[in-house]
Structures are given as C-alpha cells and as structure tokens.
C-alpha cells in the first residue's frame, strides 16, 4: 500500500514540477531588466556585439521557444551556462549546495535539540520559571531580526572577544581542516538556529500542552508509569507531528540557503548565489537553482508525509 502511495505521489510530482519551472521561467523573464544589460555592465558595446551575445545565449528567440530549449536540455542534465560567469550552472550550484546544507541542516538539528526540551519543560510545568524563560527566549527569537542577531554576535565574538571568525568558511582555502570549518560555522549556525528556535519552542509547548490533556496520557499515568516515561514516550511522540510539519515547511530554506545570514558571514552558499543571479538577471542560474530547490522540496514533503506515519500509526497511506 505504501509503495503504491509513493508511486502515486511521484506521478503527481511531475506536473507540479513542470508547473514550477514554467512559472519560474516566465516570471523571471517577464521581470524588468535583461541579462545582456547586466552582463555588459559598464562596457561600451555596439549593437552588433549585443546582438551576438543575445544570439549566443539564445535570448533572441521567442520566450516559449527559449523555455522548451531550456527544458529539453535540463531533462538531459544540462543546466546551461551562466550568463554572468560563463561557468556551467550545475557546477556552480553544486559548489554552493554543500556549504548551504552544512549550515542549514546543522542549524535545524541544533534548534530541534534545544527547542524540544525547552518546549517540553514549559508544557509540563506551565507558568513556572522554566516556562517563562522558554517563552521569553521564544519571543526574543521570533522578534529579533536575524541580521541584528548576526551583527551583535559579530561584535561580541569577533570584534571584542576575538574568539571566533566572523566571515568565510575557512581560514585558508589551501588547507581545509574540520576544526577550522567548525569554528567558522559557529556564528552563522547560531544565528540560523536562534531564528528557528522561537517557533519550534512554541510549537512543542503548544502541542505538548494539548497532548498532555488527552485520555491516553491520563490512562498511562493511572497505570503507574513514571512521569518522564509518560511525557517522553507517550506525549512527545504525538506532539512531534506539528514539529515535523514546521521542519518540513523549512525545507525551501534548508536547500535555498539563508540569504541574509550567508551575506553577512560571507558564507559561499546557494542563497548568496541566488541573490547574485537575480540581481544579474542570470536566468539560466535562477532556473537551475529553482529546479534543485523544487525537486528537494517535493521529495522532502513526501518524506515528511512518510515520517508522519512513523510517528502516528493511525495515519494510513491510500
């Protein structure tokens, strides 16, 4: 039954994916500004030179034809050449995807690890000091813009204490060592984790409060189970469903990169590349990134749906 469900979902993904590419292609092309102007920049080119560039990149063709050419190449694994850098788009994306996943996944893991105990604590003893502290942190995290948090951390740990690097991925690119990478990850990951932790604490607290009122929790308690077992084994498992949903909704961010954080910490990720590509109207790169993000999000959503089943056996797949 589950295999049939997965197969059906994959079939639905195909038109969804094509729809995404059509929307992304035409919307980005219809936006004012053209890639040739941005390629040319301050250079003085003649109309003949401009025409040659347009021809080279296929921009002299009708938009619909451009889309079909792009799509035909894309399904063969050819994402084209960046207008901006003349490099293969696929190579550019792969160079940036690793650094992005590194900080986004780590930040999700860190935020989940911190948010779950804080949320549980707040739900188990509502209106206690722990609840107020957790809620305070949650509100602070939601209310503070991440660029502000980033600047504060840079000032404290980079400028004043001088204990952590504030930009880049390595001290030197010629020797890439894991401890050095981890040191460079600390501040961007802290900012991203802080950004996510607020919502997660509130989600865990809210769903735990709800679950702890359920009959089966009362039954478990009356059976004489330890409170910790009741909370963790019976409560948390059911409370995790909205948490998983929140993480699922973060998938585009996880793959697409954290634009602001990557910019501030000069982290060479996909978000930074996306901004550069949009600014330069580098359509081939924009489309390449869109494809990667949409594929991961579509598959990720399926995985999230399957995880629901693991958490709650009552969920069946039809």
């Amino acid at each position: 039954m589950k295999a049939k469900y997965i197969g059906k979902r994959f079939l639905i993904m195909i038109p969804t994916f094509i729809g995404i590419t059509i929307l992304a292609f035409f919307l980005s092309n219809l936006a004012p500004g053209d890639p040739i102007s941005m390629i040319v920049g301050g250079a003085q080119l003649t109309p003949e030179d401009v025409a040659r560039l347009e021809h080279r990149y296929g921009l002299d063709q009708p938009l619909v034809l451009q889309y079909f050419h792009w799509f035909a190449r894309m399904i063969q694994g050819n994402f084209g050449i960046s207008y901006r850098t003349s490099e293969p788009v696929w190579t550019m994306i792969m160079n940036r995807l690793g650094p992005t996943l590194l900080i986004t996944i780590t930040s999700v893991v860190v935020s989940v690890i911190l948010a779950i105990p804080m949320g549980i604590g707040a739900a188990v003893k509502p209106y206690s000091a722990w609840d107020y502290i957790s809620s305070g942190i949650s509100f602070l995290a939601v209310a503070m813009p991440n660029f502000f948090v980033a600047l504060v951390l840079v000032y404290i740990f980079g400028v004043q204490l001088k204990v952590l690097p504030t930009s880049g991925m390595y001290t030197t690119a010629s020797v890439k060592e894991l401890p050095d990478l981890i040191r460079h990850m600390i501040l961007p990951v802290a900012v991203l984790a802080f950004q996510q932790i607020g919502n997660l604490i509130r989600q865990v607290r809210g769903s735990m409060l709800e679950v702890l009122q359920e009959d089966y929790i009362r039954t478990a308690r009356e059976k004489g189970l330890k409170e910790s077992r009741v909370v963790i084994r019976h409560g948390l498992r059911n409370a995790l469903i909205p948490v998983v949903t929140t993480i699922g909704m973060n998938l585009p961010f996880i793959v697409g990169g954290a634009v602001v954080t990557e910019q501030i910490f000069a982290w060479p990720g996909l978000g930074q590349l996306m901004v550069q590509s949009i600014n330069a109207r580098d359509y081939s790169c924009i489309m390449g990134i869109t494809v990667v993000i949409s594929v991961v999000v579509l598959i990720g959503n399926l995985v999230i749906d399957l995880i629901y089943g693991l958490l709650d056996p009552r969920i069946s797949y039809k």
Partner: protein, 560 residues
C-alpha cells in the same frame, strides 16, 4: 520504536556527513601548471590568518562582491580586474594623473606622424610556467580581444587600433593594426593620428597579456567558456593562482620569478566581505586591506570608528568616480535644454556633500572634479545653485508645474538614495513636483534605456580618459540613458582625439564641457572619496593607485 529512532538518527548523521563531504569536495584546489608554494596554514586564532605558523606571510584583501569570471576579458567590473591584475600583467599601468609606468613594455616610441607606436617588451618578463613573454603573446591577446566571436567585454579599448570597427571588433586578424617586429618588439598602428598618452589612457587599463602557447590550443567556442581559463590560469603577473572557494575567496601565491621583483609576501588572499562587515573583519584581524578602488568602500557610518581605531590606517582618497542625475531628453515633461539647465541649477550640491558625504567628497558640475587634468572650472560657466533663476527659467520656457516628474534611483548606494530625497526637496522648492521610486539596478537600467522615466540617478567609475562620459551621451552605445538621438557629442569628443598637444586638448575640452553644461542631459552632482583602511602591519599600500587597479603588491611588506 527504539529501532526507528536509531534509523532516524543514523539517517540524520548520514546527511550531515554527506553535506560535509559535499563542502570539502566542491572546493578542491585546482592545480595549474603554474601553481607554486603549497603551504600549511594555521586554522587558529585571529591574526594567525595573516601569518601562518610556518612563517608564510599572508595579506588578505577584502572586496564586497565576488569576481565574476576566470577570464580577464569576460567581465567589465573591477571585481574581476582586481584579481586579473595580480595574475596577468599589462603593458603599462596608467596613473591617476594620466602618466604611465612600464610593466611588460619597458619602453615605447611614438611614430613621427603620430600614426602609431613601437613597443619594446621587457626581455626578462616570463609567464608563471617559465615561458618568456613575447610579441606573439601581445599580438595573440589583441587578436583575441578584437575577435567578434570572442565574448570580450573589454573590446572597446581597441576601437582606436587600425582594422577595428567602432566597437573595437576586427573581422580579419590580418588587418589588425598590431604587428610583430621581433620577439620583443611590436608595432601598433592607430586608426587615426592621435596622442600616444591619449591612446594609452583609453586602451591600456585592461589589456591583459595572455600566453599564446596556452590559449591558442583552444577554439573560440571553448575559450568562450570558463573551463580553459580556470584550468590554465597562467599569467606574467606578480602572483599565481593557488586555490579558491567559489564566491568566497581566491588565494594566490607569489610568482618567485616575477620580472619586476619577487613579491615580499608569500600569499595574497582576495576575499568577499559584506560592506557592513568590512570594518569589523579588519578590526578582528580577518582581513588586512580594504580594497577601495570601487570594489570595497567603508560605509560612512563606520568612517569615524575607522579613523580612531588603533593599528589601522584610514584613507579618504579622491577618485574620478562621479554620481549624476540623468534627464530623459525625450521626456515631454521636460521640453527643452533650458528646462534641463534650470533643473541642473536648482540642485544644492554642496548640501549633499556637507550633509551626506560628511565632507568626504567634492561637488562636480562637469563629469569630473576640478582636480581632473581635463577639467578647468575657472573657464566654464557653471550651473551653480540658484533656485530663483532656475524657477524663472522654467517659467520662461513653458515648463508645466502641475505635472509630476518620475525620479528613479537604484537600490544599494545609501548616499545616492538620500541625495535623491535632497534633490526632491530642492526641486520642490522651485515648484517642481517629483515622485521617487527605487528599483533594483537591472530594472533601472532597462527603464533608463527605454526612456521610461524623467529623472534617474546613476553613477560612473569615471577615469583619467576624458572621453569616458561619452558612454552616456549618444546613440549606438548600451548606456545612452538620456536617450540622446543625434551624434553631436560623439563628434565633439572624437574631434579631440586627433589633437596631439595635451594643452590644446585640455583647451578643446572646455568647449565640450560647456556645451554639456548648457545642454544638461546629465546633472553631474558629486564625487565621493574612496573610504578605505588597512592594518598597519602591511606596508606599501597606496590607495592613490587603487582606483586605477595599480596595486604594486609585489612591493608590499608585512611586519608582526
């Protein structure tokens, strides 16, 4: 349940490991034939980033955006040139005042009729793979740059060479005015008689000499992609490509055989740092030099801190870059030159410089400041601030005060955005209503090119070449933002090219600038200084040369 938890944990760990691996793998150093000096570097403390434990002397330069291309000819921006200039050398460097110093060319002689020049290459110059730099390399570089099938964005620098069209393209390389005399001598024929300094100021800044023995192996189609350039980064500059992280940094090691002298530092790192983080990374010791030169300028808000921070030298360097408000000459709302001139007169430029630039800049009326060798404001009738006269001139020339002008400004440059508000107030004071709209740069460029605006803010890097402003002033260029329909400016600027005597040429430009001021398709506003800074442990940093991409990095030294 326990089993499922373990599976989930294992999956999570796997994803982490894979993403770590992806990071490491994607940025493996690209070994090149010219790569030298692999060395260990510390991963440790601040300050340790500038000298490695094994004593390697490292200097890190910060700029605010990544280089766009591995090929020096594929990009028109300084972000690529600042890197290219370290790897590939040029024939000469042009100083800010227009004088030139030799690099690959140790000398030149101008033909008696000023129809060309003979260039003598330095016989000691070598590429980083050990091959000598010869006349064949110069000819090859010129032929490649002028080849219309090659995607060069620096082709217009060749437009005064015989055999090229108005854009610098040459269909038949045999007709190109570059000729080999012997292994170390080339002759260059101009399209028309002109002063050699005039030619060098226009051409020399971006003419990188490429090794023929490397790049002639590739077809033009291949050379139009990044791969040949990335795989064979062989130049004759002071540094050699070592490794990079895409979009984050490029690391170069010294070219021990550099013909102008072995660099005093071992490794030069060029990094990307966001503008707001420039000062903090400098103070934290993560970078040593803020590049200036239009690729990294300190925000004005950081300027007082930079000046007062111990161990840092802050430099406010005047440049030829300028900001302007362009007027759409085809807009029916601004019907004639008199109205444009009145708008020009209504702007209080001094207020912008005093209040927004905090004095770190100067007012300009012509494209360049009065310091420019080709501008002498004492001989010009300037559109100085005079709101009463401006209003009267508008009234006399049928300007409709009931209409609203669309004033567009690109996002990004905060001072420019704020100056737009001051200009709006100045115009409001004489009864001209404006509506300000901000757009991203690509959108704004398209709107200006299409004439879909009335007034538009824009800036230019300027330069010592006095014909540089022509890019905005006539049809047939990609930046004819004022939508000028005739070739008046083109003819006026071109006429100055054939004047051989420098003083006479300066005098000729008085007429050009005066016509430009009276016609006012562009209201030139201010020239802001380059605000930069460097760590005092680095000696030899000269910001006067930064705007011309003339870092003498091989003479830089570091002390601990």
């Amino acid at each position: 349940m326990k089993k499922r938890t373990r599976i989930l944990a294992a999956l999570l760990a796997l994803v982490m490991v894979l993403s770590m691996a992806a990071c490491g793998g994607s940025d493996e150093p690209v070994e090149t034939a010219g790569t030298q000096g692999e060395s260990e570097s510390g991963s440790g403390s601040q300050g340790g980033e500038t000298t490695t434990p094994d004593g390697e002397k490292v200097v890190t330069i910060a700029m605010t955006s990544a280089w766009a291309s591995w090929c020096p000819y594929f990009d028109s921006g300084n972000y690529t040139d600042i890197v290219s200039d370290q790897i590939y050398d040029r024939l000469w460097v042009t100083h800010k005042d227009g004088t030139v110093d030799p690099r690959l060319a140790e000398s030149y002689e101008i033909d008696e009729d000023h129809g060309g020049m003979t260039i003598h290459l330095d016989p000691d110059a070598k590429f980083s793979d050990g091959e000598p730099v010869t006349a064949d390399d110069v000819i090859f570089s010129a032929q490649l740059d002028t080849n219309p099938e090659f995607n060069s964005l620096k082709r217009d620098q060749m437009k005064y060479v015989a055999g090229t069209d108005n854009g610098g393209a040459c269909e038949n390389p045999d007709e190109l005015g570059w000729e080999k005399i012997d292994d170390h001598t080339v002759h260059l024929t101009f399209k028309e008689v002109m002063s050699e300094l005039n030619f060098l100021n226009m051409m020399n800044r971006y003419f990188y000499i490429l090794p023929e023995h490397i790049y002639s192996q590739y077809s033009i189609e291949e050379l139009n992609t990044a791969a040949p350039w990335q795989e064979n980064m062989i130049g004759s500059g002071p540094f050699v490509y070592d490794t990079s992280i895409d979009g984050e940094r490029i690391e170069l090691v010294k070219n021990e055989n550099y013909f102008l002298g072995e660099p005093q530092i071992d490794r030069l790192v060029i990094r990307v740092v966001q503008g707001s983080q420039l000062l903090s990374t400098l103070v934290a010791g993560e970078v040593d030099v803020i590049a200036g030169g239009g690729v990294a300028t300190l925000p004005l808000s950081d300027w007082p801190t930079a000046q007062s921070t111990e161990g840092i030298t802050a430099v406010s360097e005047p440049t030829w870059a300028y900001q302007a408000m362009i007027i759409n000459t085809t807009s029916e709302k601004i019907p004639n030159a008199e109205c444009r001139n009145a708008i020009n007169m209504a702007i209080n430029r001094q207020s912008i410089v005093d209040n927004l630039l905090l004095g770190e800049g100067v007012v300009v009326y012509a494209p360049f400041s009065d310091e420019h060798p080709f501008v002498d404001e004492s001989k010009l009738t300037l559109p100085e601030y005079n709101p009463e006269k401006a209003k009267q001139q508008l009234e006399e020339n049928g300007f409709d005060f009931n209409q609203t002008l669309e004033l567009i400004v690109p996002t990004g440059n905060e001072v420019r955005i704020q100056s737009t508000v001051l200009i709006q107030q100045d115009l409001q004071a004489i009864g001209v209503k404006t509506n300000i709209n901000q757009y991203d740069f690509a959108t704004l460029m398209q709107m200006m090119r299409d004439g879909d605006y009335d007034l538009g803010m824009c800036g230019s890097a300027g330069g010592i070449d006095p014909t540089e402003p022509l890019g905005w002033l006539g049809p047939g260029t990609t930046q004819n933002f004022p939508c000028i329909q005739d070739y008046t400016y083109s003819d006026m600027f071109s006429a100055t090219n054939s004047i051989l005597d420098q003083d006479e040429r300066v005098e000729a430009f008085v007429d050009v600038w005066q016509y430009l001021l009276d016609d006012s398709p562009v209201c030139y506003l201010y020239a802001s200084n380059d605000l930069a800074a460097y760590n005092n442990r680095v000696q030899g940093v000269d910001y006067d040369e930064a705007s011309q991409l003339n870092w003498k990095t091989w003479t830089w030294t570091v002390t601990e």
